[in-house]
Every structure is written in C-alpha cells, then in structure tokens.
Symmetry: C2
Subunit: 468 residues, 2 copies
C-alpha cells in the first residue's frame, strides 16, 4: 500500500513491466540486467522500485542464476522477500541457498507468517532452527506451530496473525482494541470471537462492526462459523470447502477446536488453480513439471510414462502380429488399420477428458453414472456411424473395393463404441479403486482402443475375405 | 448469515447433504424427491431449509426436470434464487422458463446485483424489459447499466452495490453514514473515495477505517487504486489482473474513470477455474461441454474434431501406402510400425501439454523460447535414446533379427526428436498466429509424429534391407 502517492493512475507514468498483451517487455528485463552487470545499486533500485511482488518474481524468473543472486545482493535490505513466494521452487531455493541464515532471519521477520512458512518449509531442519532462534519469541512460536502441521495442510498455508476478542466485549471496546494494538495483521476483513481457552465461538465481519453501535455486545452481532477448517486438513480439501461455500476467509482450528489461524481466499486461489492444472498435466503424461526445471529432472519424470506406454504399443503390435498372414495377402490392410485405431483413440480421449474433469469436480461418481453411460454410448453410436460412413465411402473410392469399405465401417463403429465405454468406465473404476484417474486412464484406454481397433478390423477382414 | 443460531457447529446436528468424501448422499436426494412427489411443502422446507446456495444447486442438479419445477413451485417465496447461479445453464433456463415474469421480478429483487444480472442476461430482451419494469427505479437503473456492458465483461460480473464517500469526510462521518444508510451491500471489505463527478480517487480498507481516529480525514488514510478495472474489459483479462496482484476486490470504472461497481474475488474464482479447465477440455478435443448437455449437443460438438482427425489418419495411411511393396516382403514391419508412431505421439503430447500450459500462464512466448527449445531437444534425445535401446533390444529378441532392432531404434530416436520439436514449436507458432494452441495443436503434432514415425521407420527399413 503506497500512501505517498495520491494520483490514481500511477502505473501510466513509470515504465511498465508488461506490454498491452500482458507479456513481459524485454527492454525492461534488459535494463535490470545492465544495472546488475554494472553493480549499479542506485540504477537497479530505480528500475525495480515499486514493482509488485509478483512482478518482481517475474523479473527474477527472466534472469540467469548469477544475475538473480547479484540482484538480491545489490538490493540488500531493500529487496522485497515476498517475491520469493512468487517464483518456482528451484529458483527460490537457489536464491535462499546463497543467503546467510542471518539474512534469511531478517527477511523472514519482515514477512507475513504464511509467506515466512512458505520459505522456511523448504529449508533443512538445521538451518530452519538456526533461523527461528534469531526471531523474537512470539514470532518464533507462531512459525513453529505452523511448521508443525503436515506439508500442504491448511495449517501450513494459514496466517497466524488474526484478531480475536471475547464475546462479552462491546463493539466500542473492540474498536478501541484494534486502534491501539500494534501487532495486528496487515489486512483483515473479519474478527473472531473466542472463549477464554481460545475455543472458536464465531466471527463478525468488519462491516458488521462498523454498522453496529458502540455499546452493542459482540455476542449479539456475531454469527457461528459453520466452516471452520481443521489445521491438519489437506489444502486441496480446504480449497474445495472454499469453493463450495464461496468463502473469502475461514478460521483454522486445532484438534481441540481452538483458533490457531486464518486461511484467506488469496492463499486458496493458487491451490484451486494448481488442482485444475494438475489434471491437464497428468493427462498429458507429465508430473508437476515447472518450466524452470532442468533437462535431467524433466527427462527422468517423463520417461517413466513413456516406458508404460511402450507396453501398450507392444500389446498392439502383437495383436497385429496375429494377422501377419492376412496382411501378407492383402497389404492394403496395413495402411488402413491405424485409421481405425487412432480414431478410436481420439474419441476415447474426448470421453475420458470429460469424465476425468467431472470426477474432479464431483459431478459424477460410480453411483450416478447410469445416465452418463447411456449418453456416451449414444454419442459413440452417432459419431461412430457418421465417421464410419465417411471412412467407408473414402476407402471404397480409394481402393475400388466395396467390401473393404464395409469392413472398415463396421470395425469403426465397434471401436467407437469401445472408446465411449472405455473412456467413461476406466476413469470411474480407477477412481473407485483409489487411483488418480488423470494419471492412469490414458494407458488403459489407449490399450483398449488399439487392441479393439486392430483386432476388430483385421479379424473382420480375415473372416470377410476368407484369409485365415 | 444465520444469526438465529448461536451454536458454532450447526451442521453436525442436521442431516448433511455430503458424506465424508464430499459426495452427495443419495438418501438426502431421495427424501427431497419424496417430499416433492407428495406435494408436501412443509416436509420439503424442513429438508432443504438452511442449505447453502451451492448445496441447493447441487440438489437441483440431481432431480429430474419435472421435480425441479415442482420444487420451485412448492417452495414459493421461500426458494433461495441465488441457487440458480450455481447450476448449469441448461437447468437454469429450464427453471426460469417455467416461472412467470412477475415471479422472476420478485426473485431478482431479492438478489445481489451480480446474481440478478447472471439470471437476466440469459433471458430474451422482451422478457428482460418486462421484468426490469417491475423493479424499483434505483435497482432497475443499476441492473440496466450492468446489462449494457458486453457479455462476459467485468461490467457484467461486477456488483453495483458499494460504499463511496468524498475525500474530505472524516472517519467519524464515514462510520456514521455506514451505520445509517440501509442501502449498503450485504458484505464489503473496503470503501471507495470519489470526487463530485464520481471519478475514482482511491480506496480505504475497513480495517484501516476501524484503526483510525474519528476526526481523521478519509483523504489522509486512503490509497490510490492502482488496479481499477475498465467495465468493458473481458472477464478473463480481469481475472488475470486479480491473479497477478493477488487482489481480493477491485473497483470497476467506466470510460470516464467513474466508479460503477466492484468486482470481488469470489466472482473471479469461477473465471480463473474455468480458464484452467478450458485448456484441459480443448486439448482433449471437447468444447465447453457440460455434464448435463444432451446427446445431440455433445455428439455435434465432438464430431467436428473427429472429422479433422480423420484427415490426419488418412495422411498417415497414405504414407504407409507408399511402402506396400516393402511391407509385402517383410510383414513384421506392419506390426512394428505403430510402435514408432505412437511413442512419438506420446512424447509429443508431453511436450505439447507443458507448452500449452506455459503459454496460458505466460511463462513462455516466441521470444524467450530458446532455452526451452534446447531443453526439449535434449530431453527428446535422452528419452529417445533410452526408449530406442529398449525397443531395439526387445525387437531383436522378439524377431531374432539384429538389423531390424537397429532400424527401429534409429527410427525411434528420429521420431522422438521430431516429437520434441513439434510439441514445442507448433503451439508457439499457432499462438503467434493468433490461434488457440490448446485446440489446434494436437492435430498438427499428431500428423507430424505419425508421418515421421511411419516414413522414418518404413523408409529406413526399405533402404537398409534393400526392399525398394
């Protein structure tokens, strides 16, 4: 919050990091780079002063490893360490590793507790303890408590700064307390009501406090918090509660229902987005890869998936191998067979994508899948018939063989039906078995459309033309 | 906000809509269904009373068309119309179509302006005008203004209820005004500062007002709003600004920079999520399909994609057709050739997925792709070599033909390299050409890995074994 400038449209006057399309302007990065190369701290500060933490993070991601370390060194105490929460993990660790524990402690003490936890959780236990020892008692206690909760839990993501008052206070008392206490969070939109043992009783929005008269009791304007989140809860589950009830913030409680922190929607937006992305990446056969990962990391994480697919490919090859006599006698089948298999694969990918997404958003489960099953089978039949007519006609025209057109058309309808069923049922069954449908579905589904595609087409052709 | 009940954990006592895994409990739906079938309004109200709007929406989605209409009829004025903003568009239209304009007007007048717009924007202009005529002047004006902005713009999603005060007011005046004015939004966390022409000057968080002394001028505690959003801006662009600057709410201004509304993060979360999902669906070859769409809608939207893919399949088939002589002489090639093509396809899908996502999050563009290009080529070489060694060995063992193992291994490395290049460059080029990389990439990429796979393997085999 920049109080020094009263003009609303500040960003127009200074050089902007982004162009009109939202892409980073190369000239901006070059200017930063030159200032770093020249060890010109004054110029550097002029360039990056006033950047938002996400913008500074973006600048860091565009620099080389060396330039990043030098930038942080040159900025010294003026560096906005919140930017570290905005860069990829690899870059964050790189920068932190280059800093002394003393400097990290200084940096951490300037951050909100959730940002501080974000940085501390990646460090070794030894370093983390040394840094915590350097912090004031109250802050150390708060951070230790958050760090004690499991990885990726609500307790790790929560802010431990919040305002809590007893129910018998008046609105006036509460306002006076907020005016006088210096140890409040930077921004907050509700305050919590707790009993003497810090057990959560309810919450009051700031707009409700502002609109109440000073003598009113907090008790009479508070409302019970129906969606308190246990600190041990996984962050993805917490995100689902936020989505389900359109929450902007939620109290986090320990196992005794005592208030320990507050989760806000801005911490949760990242989780929501990551979750939607995760399915995309998994269905594409990549893990939680980041664009800044090294060649070896990327190659290793991707090769496992390729090996798994190799089995499917060999399975398909051995199905074809069964029909080598047929192919030898009628070699045109070899050219046509991949069409049947690949169209089935494409149709299955459509059904599978919709199913995986519907499972993730809980729009479908094994109990209510009947209607969807009927729909997918009908879609498979309709589109299968359309594609079959076209492909049969083209094949007839191309090969001059009417019977071949019929064979490929029938095989196509069969494989499109198999594709619909596999694309729907395999993700559902995998989900029921406790596996992640986004990761494993594609292998099984492709195996089925390949096998049914090759077996159906070559088998039907062998029988129709009497080649076996 | 339910003030009538002071016990914090209300939901434990009443029957819950969700089980522990977050799935809808069938017994709950059955109970609602029975109450509807029996025309038992009392029982129905007892069942769905106190449900959150998203929960009520979920219940509606589990009912049949008839049951939905009857439920809304039985509930009468007690129905929470906000639930309509939580169901699929098809279901919303179905329910609204069954209501008289008079009842829609009553419903709309109870909703916040953004929810009202959400319902009104789907109606025909005639119905919409008739409904607006029935509303009080001030509300009608507000809604008309929001509806005048383009579809999916910030102006459509904004709330037109907000608190705005002049800069020369004191904190005390502001608090008194908020205590007395009845026409304030239900919840808000900041107030805006405007000049006499309603031009936006800045904003103050409620926490800042609460912590200031009554005689202080608003002017002295406000800060300029750097991220005001033009009402005409597309909602996706607005969502990007929210993400970029971790905003919880933002002022919406008209072309003269006059304050017209406020966008809050809960409206934006849906947009952010939709955008992340969009790429997943598009890469899977489906449009913005919803799980409640009919067979014909789904079939029609998917078949276009299948026809496009058919061309790729025929292209691959004609490449194979070039080598019919080769295959006739060495039929084992027919069984092995899909392995090379499909492994290339899988590797390309990995690179393409990462690239499409990186384009969407603006982590990569045509200017900074050099480093990524180098990485992808190296990953393709590394994994290509690993897969090639395995596949060459297996082929040698399987066929007893060492030369065949060498040929397939070399063809595999070549196709894996082609896959890396195509998976990266095609999305980037499509994006540069202004096309959506998520939609079109897969066709082109598969065409390349199929053609290179078949051509490379069969061509190399023909040459190596002297079969042409």
């Amino acid at each position: 919050m920049d109080d020094s400038n009263r003009e609303p449209r500040v960003q127009v006057e200074r050089r902007s990091l982004y162009d009109a399309d939202g892409n980073v302007v190369p000239a901006f990065i070059d200017a930063v780079r030159h200032a770093v190369a020249d060890h010109d701290a004054v110029q550097l500060k002029a360039e990056i002063e006033g950047l938002h933490e996400t913008e500074l993070g973006e600048v860091l991601e565009h620099l080389t490893t060396d330039e990043r370390k030098r930038l942080v060194g040159l900025m010294g105490g003026d560096f906005d360490y919140t930017a570290l929460t905005e860069v990829d993990e690899a870059i964050r660790l790189e920068i932190i590793d280059a800093m002394s524990n003393e400097r990290i402690a200084e940096a951490v003490s300037e951050l909100a507790s959730d940002d501080a936890v974000y940085i501390l959780e990646d460090l070794s236990e030894g370093d983390r303890n040394e840094i915590l020892e350097r912090l004031p008692f109250r802050e150390r206690l708060r951070l230790r408590r958050a760090l004690d909760y499991p990885d990726e839990s609500a307790g790790r993501r929560m802010q431990t700064e919040f305002v809590a008052v007893p129910p018998f206070w008046t609105v006036g008392q509460t306002i006076d307390y907020m005016r006088e206490d210096d140890d409040l969070p930077e921004t907050f939109s509700e305050i919590f009501v707790v009993d003497p043992s810090f057990k959560l009783l309810g919450a009051v929005g700031l707009h409700e406090i502002l609109r109440a008269k000073r003598p009113e009791k907090i008790d009479s304007i508070m409302h019970p918090t129906r969606h308190a989140i246990p600190a041990e809860m996984d962050q993805e589950e917490a995100a689902q509660i936020f989505e389900q009830y359109d929450l902007l913030s939620a109290a986090v409680v320990d196992e005794n229902e005592r208030l320990v922190g507050v989760l806000t929607i801005d911490d949760i937006v990242d989780v929501i987005q990551e979750e939607a992305e995760e399915d995309l990446l998994r269905m594409g056969g990549v893990g939680d890869e980041e664009i800044s990962d090294t060649v070896v990391t990327v190659a290793r994480s991707r090769v496992a998936w390729l090996f798994v697919n190799l089995f499917t490919a060999f399975l398909a090859a051995s199905v074809i191998g069964l029909f080598d006599g047929t192919i030898e006698q009628m070699v045109v089948l070899a050219a046509l067979m991949p069409i049947v298999a690949s169209m089935g694969g494409n149709a299955a990918a459509q059904t599978m994508t919709v199913t995986v997404r519907a499972i993730a958003t809980r729009d479908i489960n094994i109990h209510n899948s009947g209607r969807i099953l009927r729909r997918e089978v009908l879609v498979g039949l309709l589109n299968g018939t359309a594609i079959a007519l076209l492909i049969g006609g083209v094949t007839w025209a191309w090969s001059g063989n009417f019977d071949l057109g019929v064979v490929i058309a029938v095989a196509m309808v069969v494989n499109m039906l198999a594709a619909s069923l596999a694309g729907l049922l395999i993700p559902l069954l995998l989900n029921r078995a406790g596996a992640d449908p986004a990761i494993a579905s594609a292998v099984f589904v492709t195996a089925i459309t390949d096998v049914v595609g090759f077996l159906g087409f070559l088998g039907l052709a062998s029988w129709w033309f009497g080649l076996i």
